[in-house]
Symmetry: C4
């Protein structure tokens, strides 16, 4: 079941930049290794449209990953994601740098992450999201825990939640419902 | 659980052309990315035979995908799918064009899609099908929602539903039951 | 839940050759397509040991697949499978030919298949097995329906069932339990 | 549900070397085969951090696999795993050799394995762990059976269990919770 803290809607309403971790958030956490050391990742079509709609609604979208993988750059570019930070050894630092660059306050930012390395950013951003597969130490620090499985629409659920909070969802999807 | 609107059987009975979206319908929505940017897709053997049987029963079968991927062309050819439309920026337009070409009325067509980009066609075709993993905005516009998971037989379920409605299923599979 | 017909144990006891379909039985039915048309399959380690143990117990093991894929030949060779028949257009014919070659009666053979193309052999062999994901038209013709998901141990379950029926399981696994 | 024998915490407390089987423990047991015979494996990000944290807590971490695969060497190196034994024909022998080399007693070692080939080591090590997908003959010989699915955090669960038993978990993850 989806969990949302009492102030989750208020927090989602203020988001101008939404960042997503990659492994375990935009994927189900699986890392495929070929014998030549290639790393293959699986992204989900529902999440892809979610990120595109959120961006179309006026929210900046970014990826913030501890690992570095060409697949992430390719997927990010296909979806028109504005900010792609990879190979981040210290996500807190990467996050603070991005905030400064974009001249945003912390409470104007959201982040969805699924493991301990994401907690420093979850503790600082305005709207902290995670997956229901995340460890308890992560889940109990989030304002929103997605009900949809990670890598199968968990990020889409968060995108729609933000657009619903900001009152932009109906407008953004109206084109499709004609 | 399978959901079917009260008139779903009637609608399925009239179908002469059945179109399927690819990602999230013939697959579970996952898009595998290799480091070199190759996109790998997983299709299901149950769906494959479903499309072949439906075609054998006399219904035209087609794929209508927003993305473009060599894997789809290969899979379509292997299954003897008559119509493969890929990279469709506007599925409604692609759908109308195909109708004109085949001289079919809207209510002689069915479509199975799983996301907002599919709704314009779902709203126009005679028999609108989707998956139970689809967003609510899609599901509530469908005449039939498959109970079988997408990418694991959801399309097969729809194929058998149509053949049962048209009274062709027993005949088509009789060969196998000798 | 595992289903077994009242005479399933008796039937399993007589098996001297056990054949397995590949897609949907030794795999979960997914066929991965790379852009270059390569077909990738996923086999399961539990099934692998199952086939090896069954073979060690004295039962001949074979693969009988309608598709043709280098991956199947490789996997079969790794597991020491004695009979690998691929690209079979008519499984009944392939089955009858193998029987003649091995001088076996039908009731000395078992087969595990998951779709309509497998039914002709399921109807003829002594011990007919399938998966719980198989269509009802297949399931109702089987003596044994595996409870374990296909591609995650369904074939292992059948291998152990046969060895238990034949009283060889304890002996075959004794080496591991020292 | 997680199962732990009454003495599991005591046993976990003494572990100085924790070994993990690969297929079915660090993966869900699936082995992807490409047509050229390449073998692809999927590891999980949650397990990856688990092994790193356990190592950071002072416990030696190792992989003990019956198969040989370049992907395992790559993944092991990425995670800084100290001991990687592959292609082990006899896991008991490989285990005894490692013990001698590291001058450790059996009850200072733990092992997580999921199939019959792992039982000889499970019967000898101090802390025997397995997955809930493992066959009953394996599960009933383990002190700890993970509740999290194999290849999706089962190994992480065991890593946290050991660190909790040894009182090191809070300290190791404190850095992330600032």
């Amino acid at each position: 079941m989806q969990f949302a803290s009492p102030d989750a809607l208020d927090r989602a309403r203020r988001v101008k930049l939404m960042l997503f971790d990659v492994d375990g958030v935009l994927t189900d956490g699986n890392l495929w290794y070929s014998p030549s050391g290639e790393e293959i990742k699986a992204f989900h079509s529902l999440d892809g449209l979610g990120l595109q709609l959120l961006s179309k609604s006026g929210v900046h979208v970014g990826l913030l990953s501890g690992r570095a993988s060409p697949a992430v750059a390719i997927r990010g570019a296909q979806l028109g994601v504005q900010h792609v930070v990879q190979g981040s050894q210290d996500k807190r630092q990467s996050y603070e740098r991005l905030l400064k660059k974009l001249k945003l306050d912390r409470d104007e930012t959201g982040f969805m992450g699924d493991d301990l390395v994401d907690v420093p950013v979850l503790l600082r951003c305005g709207f902290a999201c995670t997956t229901h597969e995340a460890p308890e130490d992560v889940r109990k620090r989030a304002h929103h825990v997605a009900a949809t499985p990670s890598g199968s629409g968990a990020a889409r659920e968060v995108c729609e939640y933000i657009m619903r909070a900001q009152g932009t969802l109906r407008h953004v999807i109206a084109w499709y419902l004609r």
